[in-house]
Amino acid sequence: MLDALKPLDLHGAALELGEHPFEVVRLLVMAGHSVEPSVPRDRIAQLRVFGGIETWWGSIELPDDDNRRRAIVRGMIEAMLQRELIGDRTTRRENLYRGLPAEDYEVAAYAVSVLIQLGGLVLTRAPSGALVSIHPDWADGARALVSRGQAPPELAGLWEG
């Protein structure tokens, strides 16, 4: 009942932000705060801004695809294209899968790591966290994946599970 008035402990802050507690600690340090036993609620909001933390899933509509795994990846890349996250326009990597159920989360995270290895997605690191964007050279490939489910062969195994 009074929980909304109480500061959060580290786990509470992590749940609120959808990040691992250790990442919350890292964000606190990089944002110039010390790590106290509890995290004030207004600081949660500050960390959300500092870390560029967004929750996309929930508002993402999955494309019509008989393979759920492929649908997740297509939906994720479509969300990036809609936000024009190409080249220098980046987003926090975890934004791509935050809010997904555990199994879908793993699918999305695996696809992101494969696409980074293939150069389709570009990973950069900043004090605010790991950032990703679509490589300009793969923008058409990303669109083909979203519209026709046409993916790099390296992802084929993922569809089969």
């Binding site: 009074l2 790590v35 036993p37 509890s38």
Partner: protein, 302 residues
């Protein structure tokens, strides 16, 4: 001068020459045989020496291979201490959880006091149905009620902050060691905290062990902040059940171990609650060989 008799004829002379030639050949052959025998003896000696060298080389190789187990023994000693400290921490964390629960019970009791209970009731009443009721009121009334609610909320928040005291354990102070190594751009930290604090965090309370892990992570990133490697991210995992951290830093980044040591010490000292739990965190630098697992396994992602 020859000791032979003067030959009387050429035939005698030829016989004498032949006899001398045969004798000379026999002497020559005997000398050769003597030298050959000496060579053979030396060759045998050489072969014996080579065999000895071979044996020694084999022994050396064996000793070289035996060097790792010696280090493993060293690592085992380090981990023995860390495991023992981990056990201490588990006991202390249980004590701390009890103390925190006692404070929470006191807090709940205080919320029922005549001073605070009416505020709680009013806050609760507003939260339970305030929004719907407010929506039906004229804006001026709504604003006035919201102001009252906000005032109640702020008073309650102040009370809660006041009641949020850090417990103080009446117990013997326990030292807990955290070890780290820094070698060729790889920083490894092994803590006395269970790896579950990282891998199973969602299913456990944020207790003293989580708090200690958080301060270690804070120390690590405080050391990184403002350096060329401040965007680096540590990899966390379990190492013999203990929380381990690995971090790659640029090879040309000098002075990081000292920076890490200073940042950790400062971070540990600033943790009032950890001191109240009567835990003394210490950081020790050890050679990297003493942190490597026996079978060269990497730090597992937990």
């Amino acid at each position: 001068m020859s000791t032979h008799e003067q030959p009387g004829s050429i035939a005698d002379a030829l016989r004498a020459v032949e006899e001398q030639r045969v004798a000379a050949q026999e002497r020559h052959s005997a000398r050769l045989a003597e030298v050959d025998e000496e060579i053979e003896r030396l060759q045998e000696s050489i072969q014996n020496l080579q065999a000895q060298i071979q044996t020694l080389q084999e022994s050396r190789a064996q000793i070289e291979q035996e060097q790792d187990p010696e280090f493993e023994g060293g690592a085992e000693l380090i981990f023995q201490v860390l495991r023992e400290h981990s056990g201490r921490l588990a006991e202390r964390a249980a004590m701390w959880a009890e103390a925190v629960a006692a404070v929470e019970a006191q807090k709940n009791k205080a919320l029922q006091s005549p001073e605070i209970a009416p505020l709680v009731a009013e806050y609760q009443q507003f939260r339970d149905g305030g929004d719907a009721a407010l929506a039906q009121l004229p804006p001026s009334y709504r604003k006035a009620i919201e102001e009252v609610h906000n005032k109640v909320r702020d008073q309650l928040r102040a009370h809660l902050e006041e009641l949020d005291v850090t417990p103080e354990l009446d117990a013997e102070s326990i030292p807990l060691d955290v070890v780290f190594s820094s070698d060729e751009g790889l920083v490894m930290i092994i803590t006395p905290v269970s790896a579950d604090v990282y891998s199973q965090w969602a299913g456990r309370p944020a207790g003293l062990d989580t708090r200690i892990a958080a301060k270690i992570v804070e120390g690590l990133y405080t050391a990184l902040r403002g350096t060329a490697a401040e965007a680096a991210e540590a990899v966390y995992g379990g190492h013999e059940g203990l929380l381990a951290m690995e971090l790659e830093i640029p090879l040309d980044m000098s002075g990081f171990p000292e920076r890490l040591q200073a940042a950790m010490e400062q971070t540990f000292e600033s943790a009032v609650d950890i001191a109240a739990a009567r835990v003394e965190l210490r950081l020790a630098k050890v050679p990297v060989d003493l942190l490597l697992p026996a079978d060269d396994e990497e730090v597992d992602d937990a």
